[in-house]
């Protein structure tokens, strides 16, 4: 069992992260991963020039590690892999890579789903979109919180 949780200042390369996860997952049988990508438009359809992810010097990485560790404990998985960007992110660039490996596909799917629900609502970041509409803070929606509560 291993957990990788990394806070990344520079571009995240999902193919490299998946390769690293596959390498660790040898013999696992099932690997599921999710990549979140910065959108080029806000919910109201206005152009977004960049996404800014502010972070906390200590608590942000700690939150990624906690979420990864709790996913590893909750599901029958061998490996959990989280890489999260911080700073300025251009539309089309990956924001987050979250993956899990297991001997059973269901556990790998559930762990990846769980990772994202927790990351959306509990990873210590403050996000804002900068674009046509100025600078706007983005917080989790009630649906995001409801998705998170499914796992309690």
């Amino acid at each position: 069992m291993s957990v990788v949780a990394r806070l990344e200042e520079h571009a995240v390369h999902p193919e490299q992260e998946l390769a690293a996860l596959l390498e660790r997952a040898k013999g696992a049988g099932a690997v599921v991963s999710f990549t979140g990508v910065a959108r080029g438009a806000s919910k109201s359809g206005q152009a977004v020039h960049r996404l800014v992810l502010e972070h906390h010097p200590v608590l942000t990485l700690q939150s990624l590690q906690n979420i990864g560790g709790e996913a590893a404990a909750k599901f029958d998985v061998n490996h959990v892999h989280i890489v999260h960007r911080r700073g300025n992110i251009a539309p089309g660039e990956p924001i987050v890579f979250a993956g899990a490996a297991s001997i059973h596909r269901r556990a790998a799917f559930e762990a990846a789903d769980y990772l994202m629900d927790r990351l959306k609502t509990e990873a210590v970041f403050w996000k804002r979109e900068v674009g046509e509409a100025g600078s706007n803070w983005i917080e989790p929606t009630e649906t995001d919180y409801a998705d998170r509560e499914r796992w309690d």
Partner: protein, 80 residues
């Protein structure tokens, strides 16, 4: 006492503020003092999903602050 702010709270208030409070005042008392001085940030400060942190640990509203404590107010967080 030194109080730190993050995200939209830092935008509204600044990233750091010196707040005077009686010895062993609570987190809630400091929050209300800051909210009174910065009404534009009051609703975020009082948001039920905002977090209070002392020494990198989450604390509750009734936590009593000791001299030298560094209190941080975190608006609702969101990754992914």
């Amino acid at each position: 006492m030194k109080v730190l702010f993050h995200g939209r709270l830092a935008e509204a208030i600044g990233s750091e503020l010196e707040v005077s409070c009686a010895s062993d005042c609570t987190v809630a008392e400091v929050r209300e003092r800051v909210a009174a001085e910065h009404p534009d940030a009051a609703s975020v400060l009082r948001n039920k999903r905002a977090l209070s942190v002392v020494g990198e640990k989450l604390v509750r509203d009734d936590y009593r602050l000791a001299s030298g404590d560094k209190l941080e107010f975190l608006p609702p967080v969101s990754g992914g």
